[in-house]
């Protein structure tokens, strides 16, 4: 019997271990080695930390990273603000078929690829696009308005792209909240805001935290949305990595940027957890 469970455990864990080592650990070690070498001549390399120094010394790269991080945090907060009422309505107010239907409506945009969704936003927002034409038709503006190629457009795209990843964990945690607890809150004289603050949000905290982590990471690592909607001013950190690898043939700097992104994003998530007094265990548990 014990022998049997052992074999079962090994069989179950092998795919995971293979996945982790072959696709995550080994490539990352290789990336680390690449990031730690410097090109000294044609086809000649030597061990050095020059690539990481480049990141620290060139204000442009540091600035781009900061900008990406701040924009991602903002996008996460906006997504939370938009998604929370939606999730609350679906989990608590809607019943039966309406509930399934609303949930399905949240899912539908994700049946098409991110590229198509982003392109949809471009059609809406561009100078000769639908929103601009509508405003002109209504007489609200005189000439065509350009709504693409700015930070607001990037933000819209990011929030839209990551909505689902916030709504789903929120619905799950809010769904587990017993209605009787909320009723008891009202019976004890609580007002709407105080019940939200004292009962609902503390209960939904694991969902909020896991949703925020996912949305933040997705925004930080997003390439398509900022590049397409941001146009000439997009300036996103992943774009820098892409151009170092593909356009500049500078794998060394690209790999260093990759590691910087990995560490700084992990650090931001850790700092956020500490700031809000949450732990990863509580969120997962």
């Amino acid at each position: 019997m014990r022998e049997g469970t052992r074999i079962g455990f090994i069989l179950l864990v092998t795919p995971l271990l293979l996945w982790l080592t072959l696709l995550i650990v080994i490539p990352h070690i290789d990336m680390l080695l690449i990031s730690l070498r410097e090109r000294v001549g044609v086809g000649e390399y030597q061990f050095s930390a020059a690539n990481y120094l480049t990141f620290l010394q060139e204000p442009l790269y540091l600035w781009t990273f900061l900008r990406t991080a701040v924009m991602s945090v903002t996008a996460t907060l906006i997504t939370l603000l938009v998604a929370f009422p939606v999730a609350y309505y679906i989990a608590k107010m809607a019943k039966g078929r309406v509930k399934s239907l609303l949930f399905l409506l949240c899912l539908v945009p994700f049946w098409v690829s991110e590229l198509v969704r982003t392109f949809g936003w471009m059609i809406l927002l561009r100078e000769t696009g639908i929103v601009s034409s509508l405003l002109q038709y209504l007489g609200l503006v005189d000439g065509p308005v350009e709504m693409l190629y700015n930070d607001a457009a990037i933000m819209t795209g990011l929030v839209y792209t990551s909505m689902l990843f916030m709504v789903v964990p929120l619905i799950t945690t809010l769904g587990s909240l017993d209605d009787a607890v909320i009723e008891a809150g009202y019976d004890l004289g609580g007002s709407g805001p105080s019940i939200l603050r004292e009962i609902i949000i503390p209960h939904a905290m694991p969902g909020i935290v896991s949703g925020c982590i996912v949305v933040f990471m997705l925004s930080l690592g997003n390439y398509l949305t900022p590049t397409m909607l941001g146009g000439k001013d997009s300036l996103w950190f992943t774009e820098l990595i892409y151009s170092q690898f593909i356009v500049r043939f500078n794998w060394e700097l690209g790999a260093a940027f990759g590691f910087v992104l990995l560490f700084l994003s992990s650090f931001i998530v850790w700092a956020m957890l500490r700031l809000t007094g949450q732990t990863l265990e509580k969120t997962m548990g």
């Binding site: 090109r39 044609v42 086809g43 442009l60 790269y61 600035w63 781009t64 561009r126 100078e127 000769t128 350009e146 693409l148 190629y149 590049t227 146009g231 000439k232 001013d233 997009s234 300036l235 820098l240 151009s243 170092q244 690898f245 593909i246 356009v247 500049r248 043939f249 500078n250 794998w251």
Partner: protein, 359 residues
């Protein structure tokens, strides 16, 4: 006894068929072709497969991605690739991703001699030739002549007449084009990193100054088409074919060779270092360089090829557009890209990053 002989027969026949299969496999290969959109049109691939028995797998890409892909595998995964001729010597010296071309297996009589010789010269590393020419074209200006008639050169994209209605790529051709339009000669500075850096700093200042004029930097051909077709952009730096395609929809829009000279590129054939179907690759090169086949590629891609005598088979309207954009003196003024020395991309990369970040 009887049964055994039957079995034996079966084994022998299976083995024979198996061997037949093997010999078939060696004479008919799969050609994995890494190329640009339009360079291997469906009808040409079909003709080639019927004539030679080889099968062709086409992967569409661009210069940078081709080199990045080959670099990632050390020159494996593909049997024939088509980077531009200026991007062969540098990456070959740096990463060793190509193998020399056996010129005896190529029918040189099908090529325009001057173009073949120039490409051979530009793609020679340590005495070995690595590339032969295929498709050539230029980049210059695509203009809506009814609204942007004042634009004669790249630097005119920064004038107030077209403010907010301009687009170009944030890539190296833009840097080179602006440098020429500013009266500088970037190709002369290729060999001297310090001089090139200094020159690029001037271009950087110009591009930053010009940035408010730009609507957006375009990334792909289709994006540019949309911008120009919708009228949101009236003047852009682009490939000649893009302009000609738009011209067939709207006669006001066309390709114009800039006063400082259009930039000429030649896309080549190269053999990746670990390619497995060299025979099929040579067969493909000789097949598509036949004048009639080359004309079919010109019709699909919009650009002319290095095939001798293919011009007369090309559709008349394309020829007319070409002649309108390129009067003889503009052809003589084309600036052909010399090979990019390894390491220059890093200098240009810094400039492009700073332009992108500027406000």
């Amino acid at each position: 006894m009887h049964l055994r002989s039957k079995k034996l027969k079966l084994v022998v026949s299976v083995a024979t068929f198996g061997l037949l299969g093997l010999t078939q496999a060696t004479s008919a290969d799969t050609l994995r072709l890494l190329t640009w959109g339009g360079y291997a049109p469906e009808n040409v691939v079909e003709m080639f497969e019927k004539e030679t028995g080889h099968t062709v797998e086409v992967t569409k890409s661009n210069n940078e991605e081709m080199i990045a892909k080959l670099r990632a595998t050390g020159g494996g995964g593909f049997d024939l690739a088509q980077p531009s001729q200026d991007r062969i010597a540098g990456p070959q010296a740096e990463f060793g991703i190509y193998k020399p071309i056996d010129l005896s297996k190529i029918d040189a009589s099908q090529f325009i001699t001057s173009m073949l010789e120039a490409t051979k010269g530009n793609t020679t590393v340590d005495g070995e030739v690595y590339g032969v020419p295929h498709v050539w074209g230029t980049s210059g200006l695509v203009l809506d002549t009814s609204k942007a008639a004042s634009v004669k050169d790249y630097t005119d994209l920064c004038s107030d007449d077209v403010a907010g209605k301009v687009s170009y790529r944030l890539k190296r051709p833009t840097l080179i084009g602006f440098a020429f339009a500013m009266g500088l000669d970037p190709f002369a500075a290729y060999g001297d990193e310090a001089a090139y850096t200094e020159l690029m700093e001037k271009v950087e200042a110009k591009l930053i100054e010009c940035k408010p004029n730009v609507k957006t930097y375009w990334g792909g051909g289709d994006e540019l088409m949309n911008l120009v077709r919708s009228g949101e952009v009236v003047a852009s730096m682009a490939w000649d074919t893009g302009g000609w395609k738009l011209n067939s929809d709207n006669p006001d829009i066309t390709f114009v060779a800039p006063a400082s000279g259009a930039l000429g590129w030649i896309d080549t054939f190269v053999l990746p270092a670990k390619g497995k179907a060299d025979d099929a690759a040579y067969a493909w090169i000789n097949f598509v360089m036949q004048p009639k086949v080359a004309a079919m590629i010109t019709d699909a891609a919009g650009n002319f090829t290095a095939s001798k005598g293919a011009d007369e088979f090309v559709a008349a309207d394309l020829k007319a557009r070409y002649q309108a954009s390129f009067p003889p003196e503009a052809v003589d003024n084309i600036k052909w890209y010399p090979p990019v020395p390894a390491g220059l991309e890093a200098i240009e990369g810094g400039v492009l990053d700073r332009v992108k970040a500027a406000n």
